[in-house]
């Protein structure tokens, strides 16, 4: 809660900073806000808000994922200083919107009832609709904003219908109360089934799992890259963690009824996304499909029906995924800004021209592919090891897909190291902030890859 | 550019003070002004029912006088038309035929005499120019109408009816005094 207050407060300050044309100080203020929020997240002082625990509980679960979101946003903010430097009018607004979205993410993560989850999703989504369409003169950005908005609103409708059904079935919106009802079997089964299915559909829309994923490649592609990285990391983290929490808090006991659906969705996401990703020509679209496939892997955690182990698994996975995605987007943003292209050819010969960036990108891709000694490996490892009990065939599908995914992740590596650059003329300039973010993320990936327990033991 | 008169005011774009910028005082002032007018004596009249009294030398619609025998005084000399600054008067002269002596005082008369009331500025110069004291401006108000050609008054309107003679003595007196 303290974190939300800080973020919202600084969001307002950023809005004012935008009005009074203090463009230089916007990024530092944003970073300061997040650092403060981080400090207060890691310190457990939320006892102040004990009166509202039926709404809101900043427990270790929430704290852990909040930290992931905050760190991701921090890095994205650092990138933003460069990315938005030409944005005269709305830099402050965009930063503020990201902060507000972050408030939504934290709300979702710490929600204790359906209402707060819903509200959190909306607070997270609405700024993002705008950020997606924030490049007003660019048709692609417009399209992304529109699509994201329509899909988001549609998914919200479905989500609410599901929530209404759950409310009807149990008469409760409190997660713990729903759980009690489920345990006591004092609920209406028909309504509950409809509710659960609707919730699954809605959340699959939000985390872009197949077959509800079709919007996400377009949206990722059209959205300005900085916000794409925000979407791919913070939104995914918050949405998935909430999905996990909601289902494994309330419906574990009746898991048999819905895990099959999730399993099918997971398998579909992995297969469809990985196969489609191979045929992509744009890096951003590839990353979008990659994110869909990662959603598929993450769904394994739900199937495990094991809250305790599952939360560590998805925490590690999401942390690894976020770091790798940000690292990849850091490099990509830099290249895209200077070349204006987003196909794979822009990476050609990067290994020779910019060692640091190429190495960062390589580490990121290796991590996304799940190669050991990178964070991605342990993420996958955790997920596989908790799901292997429940759905062995699904884990095998996941493994097959990890192998397929190598193909497209390595396209980038191949382009960077093994292909000759077409345009030597364009000399890439690396701003120190980009280099810093690149180094930080790649260090983080490797450190988590070697010692994954530091992430988990921070909280549990 | 130098102004021709020194009545023009320099536009000032000075920044308004806070109290001015909320306009509240100005609005109240304005409302005070309007409410003052609300209680003022009304300046309009309930016109057709009530008419405003006119001054003695009021110059209204023209009239072509007849003499006491009922003969028209105008001899179509054209001096009024010449004098008219608005060129509102036109006329056509004609010879008096035998047996028309009771109608026209002299041998020459105006067979057509028109005044365009839309052009006329009611200056009274025609009256002054007339050597036969045939044309006078009265205190009658030219009545409104909807078509322009109705404002070209011919002799049918202008010439004085014997059964309803118009007393011009007041104006004549005034003219004589001058």
């Amino acid at each position: 809660m303290v974190a939300i207050i800080i973020l919202a407060f600084f969001g307002v300050i950023l809005l004012f900073a935008g009005i009074f044309d203090m463009r230089k100080s916007i990024m530092p203020i944003g970073v300061l806000a997040i650092l403060m929020a981080l400090v207060f997240t890691l310190q457990d002082i939320d006892g102040l808000f004990n009166d509202y625990t039926n709404m809101f509980l900043f427990d270790t679960f929430a704290r852990a994922f909040t930290v992931v979101c905050l760190v991701s946003t921090l890095l994205i903010f650092l990138l933003g200083g460069e990315f938005l430097k030409d944005d005269i009018h709305h830099k402050g607004d965009k930063y503020a919107l990201m902060l507000f979205a972050l408030c939504g993410a934290i709300t979702m993560l710490s929600a204790q009832n359906l209402l707060m989850i819903f509200l959190g999703i909306e607070i997270l989504s609405i700024p993002l609709y705008i950020l997606a369409g924030s490049q007003k003169d660019d048709m692609h950005s417009n399209e992304a904003g529109m699509k994201y908005f329509l899909m988001g609103a549609f998914a919200t409708g479905i989500l609410l219908f599901g929530m209404a059904m759950i409310y009807g079935a149990t008469g409760q919106i409190q997660l713990s109360a729903i759980w009690t009802n489920v345990i006591a079997d004092s609920y209406n089964h028909n309504l509950m089934n409809v509710g659960i299915i609707m919730l699954i559909v809605a959340f699959c829309f939000k985390i872009s799992a197949a077959p509800f994923h079709f919007w996400s490649p377009d949206v990722y592609d059209g959205t300005p890259t900085l916000f794409t990285s925000f979407m791919a990391t913070v939104v995914k983290t918050a949405a998935f963690a909430t999905f996990f929490k909601l289902f494994l808090t309330c419906f574990t006991e009746i898991g048999g009824q819905w895990t099959t659906i999730i399993a099918v969705i997971a398998a579909l996401s992995m297969v469809l996304a990985n196969v489609t990703a191979i045929y992509q020509r744009s890096f951003k679209r590839m990353m979008a499909y990659s994110s869909i496939s990662h959603a598929g892997y993450l769904l394994l955690a739900l199937i495990s029906l094991n809250f305790k182990e599952g939360q560590s698994a998805i925490l590690l996975y999401l942390a690894a995924y976020s770091m790798a995605t940000i690292a990849a987007f850091t490099v990509f943003t830099m290249i895209q800004q200077q070349t204006g292209r987003s196909d794979f050819e822009v990476f050609n010969g990067l290994g020779k021209r910019k060692r640091l960036l190429a190495v960062t990108m390589t580490i990121a891709m290796l991590s996304l592919a799940g190669i050991p000694l990178t964070a991605g490996f342990f993420g996958k490892y955790y997920l596989f090891s908790i799901a292997i009990h429940q759905y062995m065939p699904l884990v095998i599908i996941a493994i097959l897909n990890s192998a397929i995914s190598i193909y497209y992740y390595f396209r980038v590596i191949v382009a960077m190291w093994f292909k000759e650059s077409e345009h030597h003329a364009i000399s890439l300039e690396t701003s120190p902030i980009y280099s810093m973010v690149a180094i930080v993320t790649s260090m983080a990936i490797i450190v988590i890859g070697i010692l994954p327990s530091i992430v988990i033991e921070l909280f549990w | 550019m130098q102004s021709l008169t020194n009545r023009s005011k320099i536009v000032s774009n000075k920044k308004m003070t806070f109290s001015e910028s909320i306009y509240l005082v100005a609005i109240l002032k304005g409302m005070f002004i309007t409410i003052q007018h609300f209680f003022k004596k009304k300046v309009t009249l309930d016109y057709p029912k009530m008419k405003k009294p006119v001054v003695a030398n009021y110059r209204g619609q023209h009239i072509l006088k007849r003499d006491d025998q009922g003969a028209e005084r105008c001899t179509a000399c054209g001096l009024c038309a010449v004098a008219c600054p608005a060129e509102a008067i036109t006329m056509v002269a004609a010879e008096r035929k035998k047996g028309e002596e009771n109608l026209y005082r002299e041998e020459k008369y105006a067979s057509m005499y028109e005044i365009n009331m839309l052009r006329c500025i009611f200056c009274g110069l025609c009256e002054e120019a007339c050597p036969k004291e045939a044309i006078f401006l009265t205190d009658m108000i030219v009545s409104p109408d909807q078509q322009r050609d109705k404002f070209i008054y011919g002799k049918d309107i202008l010439v004085e009816k014997m059964e309803k003679r118009y007393d011009t003595s007041k104006r004549q007196k005034h003219l004589l005094e001058k």
């Binding site: 609709y129 705008i130 417009n142 919200t156 219908f161 929530m163 209404a164 377009d218 | -």
Partner: protein, 106 residues
């Protein structure tokens, strides 16, 4: 006022809301005008509202009605943002046709 609760079964409201919800979904699927699509989403939300309100009234539990209140709050914000995006799109394409949104596919 409460006689409805005695004479009408809750099932009626469940089915009514479901039908309205499905009409909304159908509208989202078959219309190309972005504004209408957005309106159909609103219709979906309203059906949910009705369902929440009905459950809330039948159970005598205030939570449902407050949920509706918040849904309305959110819907208002969402519509504002959505229409802004829509107007922006219209400025660029002079159309609100959703099916024109395929530039990114190429």
């Amino acid at each position: 006022m409460t006689e409805v609760l005695k004479h009408v079964s809750i099932d009626y409201y469940i089915y009514l809301s479901t039908i309205l919800f499905c009409i909304g979904v159908m509208g989202v699927l078959i219309r190309r005008n972005a504004i209408i699509v957005l309106m159909c989403v609103e219709l979906m939300l309203n059906s949910v509202n009705l369902l929440f309100a009905a459950f809330s009234a039948y159970r005598g539990d205030a939570n449902g009605q407050l949920f509706v209140f918040f849904i309305m709050v959110v819907a208002a914000a969402e519509v504002a943002v959505g229409l802004a995006i829509l107007v922006m799109m219209y400025r660029n394409t002079k159309s609100v046709d959703v099916s024109l949104l395929d530039k990114l596919k190429h």
